[in-house]
Assembly symmetry: C2
Homo-oligomer: 298 residues x 2
């Protein structure tokens, strides 16, 4: 197998199952693409689909998903807790194997062009694909949401990267981007004191002066009554799982608190685990092609 | 991708490159098989080939390799430092993905039957495929080597599992078996005192009262002047890399010696690395299907 790109579009539909399934069907219908997972949330009124394949198939599949969403979702009637601005709200491309970030940025540009030209949807490029620094951050791209953008889109600094400076009344606006794989990673502490988890979260996250690629919160887990540091590892090549784990363990020890366990939620690239094994086993000169299964993907 | 079996036959030829390449060519010539690696050693006069594929293709490929070796290698003239008894000396089948040890034992039986019937080569089943306890161990199967077996093969307890109780004068005798993946794993110590490495090796290996699936020696590395514990991890599901590493580190500390690094030589299954990551990150509830690349092998 050759180049592999992952794509994780978010759609503004989390209630009408038949709509979600029609979008999933459009994505799966493209040969060369494998839909790994989809989930939806009623209160957010939003669904997330995860698929992989070769770059051209993934591009086509993302377009087909967005086209189907545009025909079935009417943003002028949409309500939900999660911020949103389009029927297809965001489409990130993620390099997985034998693909660079640059390749994924080009996919984002090509898809943005098609959404604008063929479906009249205004498109903002975000994260690694952003052409303006302030568009790196999705929340500033989405500021005002669908309703606010109806007028704000006409401001010069909000001009879309592709398509008209006019919200598509039904399909809204879509953000298309490129980013590294995100790993959802939780660390469970042996304490019921959520303030300790909050202090640790603050110490490691970018917004607290910690690692720029780490987002973290301290929360309480109802089932166990224990505190948890819930983390987004946004670029495991910058800050790997083992560095996060060791740092949280060390910070917890300062309060006399032990780490019970950690959890990876959803998918992780193989390399993130291999990085941890290399670190802890002090592996020297290890080539990832020594992994038997990697040879089968060639 | 579906079922995957690995096969690592050893051939009694390490000097005539053209013979080695002809055997490699016979193995590669079977569709569905990927030859990952081959190496040879002049003083051992022996070569090792590593290939993978679906079970039936791997079986056919192993047969074609053995057939070619039987036509090009004359054991009555063979000399070399490594113990040996056949042109194709040993053929182990190794489960890699979606294949059980039982499947590999059946492959060994089917190949043994063919080598006996079509090439008149006596075959012993060894390791997990052994039908007698004393044949689990390859060195007792090979006791006496080619020259000794010329007469010893007629003893009732040495009767082959397949084929005549008579050594094939040119092709000799072949051992066919099934075993877990073997990981060649070295740990380098920050000392020039080889006796420390030897004491640690004795403490961890089965023959010293340690783990039955661990073989280990203490040696000195000429380039660095440092001591090394060189290890065969014969069944990483029984005794994983991290347990070996942590134990060696602890035993070394008793002599005030630090571990510099470890090395995996050659191939390793992905699961052996994932096991280490799970252990050190204290990962709870991790399913290997959360590894993105695993989903591509389905």
């Amino acid at each position: 197998m050759g180049k592999i790109v992952q794509c994780v579009p978010n759609f503004s539909e989390g209630r009408r199952i038949e709509v979600i399934e029609e979008i999933a069907g459009a994505i799966k219908g493209v040969p060369g693409v494998k839909l790994l997972d989809y989930s939806y949330d009623k209160s957010h009124n939003r669904s997330v689909m995860t698929f992989i394949g070769d770059p051209q198939s993934v591009l086509e599949s993302a377009f087909q998903g967005a086209k189907t969403a545009a025909s079935l979702i009417d943003m002028s009637k949409h309500q939900g807790e999660h911020p949103r601005m389009g029927a297809t709200d965001v489409i990130p491309f993620i390099p997985v194997a034998r693909v660079t970030m640059e390749d994924c940025i080009k996919l984002a540009q090509a898809l943005g062009r098609r959404l604008a030209d063929e479906l009249s949807i205004p498109v903002y490029l975000y994260e690694e694909a952003a052409r303006k620094p302030e568009r790196k951050n999705l929340s500033s791209v989405r500021r005002g949401q669908y309703e606010g953008l109806l007028t704000a889109i006409r401001e010069p600094e909000r001009k879309p990267d592709f398509g008209p400076a006019e919200v598509n009344p039904r399909a809204g606006v879509t953000a298309v981007g490129a980013r590294p794989p995100l790993i959802a990673y939780n660390i469970n502490l042996d304490t019921g004191d959520v303030s300790i988890a909050q202090k640790i979260a603050r110490a490691i996250r970018g917004s607290g002066g910690g690692f720029p690629t780490i987002k973290a919160l301290g929360i309480s887990i109802e089932e166990t009554g224990k505190a948890q540091v819930t983390i987004n590892v946004c670029d495991y090549r910058q800050v790997p799982l083992h560095r996060v784990f060791e740092l949280v363990k060390r910070e917890a020890a300062r309060y006399g608190v032990a780490v019970i366990e950690s959890e990876i939620i959803g998918l992780t690239p193989l390399d993130a685990l291999a990085d941890a094994a290399e670190f802890y086993l002090q592996l020297a000169g290890f080539d990832r092609n020594q992994i038997l299964e990697k040879r089968l993907l060639e």
